[in-house]
């Protein structure tokens, strides 16, 4: 699943245009058609494999923020690489990412990276078992991640809490007369 997500991310990344200027446009019909390709189901023996919608949404948002639409050549190359990656999934005949062989994973990553190159970006495997797509500046454009994030205390609060805890421990030690300050 994560590999497929990475696949989609890579394809979307490839579809994305390099310029980081904020654009003022909606997706073109060709771009929408390309994303429709990403939404296609891949039939495998254990059911169907489909790229998560939230991953596709990241790609759509990224493309929508680009200044210029994708060129026909870019769309053409991306589509070819996407279909090649989908063929790899079909050849593996399973939608369970953990069942993919090393060669299958490498082949899919390679197709994703080729697609990313069409827009001067690159795709690499991440620590979560998925794929990150990054632009020319190294910023992550699309990645697979949980939808509900961690929104606990920020770093500053942790530091303050740590200081309070240490202070409390010191006070306890002082009170217990284990530590003599004078």
């Amino acid at each position: 699943m994560k590999k497929l997500m990475a696949l989609v991310l890579a394809v979307m990344l490839v579809v994305a245009v390099l310029p980081m200027c904020v654009s003022a446009r909606t997706l073109t019909a060709e771009e929408k058609a390309l994303f429709d390709t990403l939404k296609e189901h891949v039939a495998v023996k254990d059911g169907e494999f489909v790229i998560p919608a939230d991953v596709i949404a990241q790609g759509e948002n990224y493309v929508a923020s680009l200044q210029n639409p994708l060129t026909p050549d870019q769309i053409s190359k991306i589509k070819a690489e996407v279909q090649a990656a989908q063929a790899e999934v079909k050849k593996a005949n399973t939608g369970v990412v953990s069942n993919w062989s090393e060669s299958t994973r490498n082949a899919i990553l390679n197709h994703i990276d080729n697609a990313a190159e069409a827009i001067n970006c690159n795709a690499t495997a991440n620590a979560k078992g998925g794929i990150d797509v990054k632009d020319a500046t190294g910023a992550t454009i699309v990645t697979n991640d949980k939808l509900i994030k961690t929104t606990g205390f920020g770093a500053e609060s942790v530091a303050i809490a740590g200081i309070c805890i240490l202070s409390a421990l010191c006070a306890c030690a002082f009170v217990s007369k284990k530590v003599r300050l004078f």
């Binding site: 980081m20 904020v22 003022a24 997706l27 939230d54 990224y62 509900i148 929104t151 606990g152």
Partner: protein, 207 residues
């Protein structure tokens, strides 16, 4: 047995510290956002209203909107009933949330596009105010292209892995706000406090 008994008794006291430990041990592989955050929010004035379509004055041409890049500050969110107002960033990574505002999931759409909007914030920050929201209260999001109002429909606590917590595929502009729960908990928690609100006013973006 004594230790277990003490844990049950002192559990509530110890949990904040356990949360801190969890926070320190959590996966540090966070999504990188651009170092130079873009600020495209300029506020909304009636005279700056984007082009509307001929058929409906409340429908905006999507080509006249500057779509925010990932990490950009693009809107202001306010809770009039509790007196809270904050910046909204188009990213919900730790780096974005630690900028003092709230972060929108990059997997969700911005207001006006008829799709769910998922926004999170720290429970010790601006979104500590979520606990004071009641059903019927308004949540207002101001963008460069319009002012959007959402009415709170439900406030509920759910597990962080609950698959029903946020359905971003529905064809409905639902505003979903969430933060860690309990509000007094330090560090990581398993639960989230969700506020669901339905759109009651604001333009529609043609896209």
């Amino acid at each position: 047995m004594m230790i277990f008994f003490l844990y049950l008794v002192l559990g509530k006291t110890l949990s904040p510290y356990l949360g801190i430990i969890n926070l320190l041990l959590k996966d540090q592989n966070q999504t990188e956002v651009p170092q130079e955050y873009e600020n495209i929010f300029e506020g909304y004035e009636k005279e700056d209203e984007p082009e509307t379509t001929a058929e409906n004055e409340n429908v905006i041409d999507g080509n006249s909107i500057v779509f925010p890049k990932r990490g950009a500050l693009y809107a202001r969110l306010s809770l009039p009933s509790v007196g809270m107002e904050t910046d909204v960033y188009f990213d919900d990574s730790d780096a974005a949330l630690n900028r003092g505002g709230v972060g929108q999931s990059y997997s969700s759409k911005i207001p006006g596009y008829g799709k769910p909007i998922l926004i999170s914030g720290h429970n010790n920050g601006k979104f500590n105010a979520l606990q004071h929201l009641k059903v019927g209260d308004l949540v207002v999001i101001t963008t460069n292209y319009g002012i959007f109002e959402y009415q709170v429909r439900e406030c509920v606590v759910k597990d962080k892995d609950d698959p029903t917590a946020a359905n971003l595929q529905q064809e409905k502009e639902e505003l979903i706000l969430y933060t860690c729960y309990p509000f007094s908990m330090l560090g990581l928690t398993r639960q989230r406090y969700f506020v669901y609100a339905d759109k009651v006013s604001g333009p529609v973006v043609l896209h």
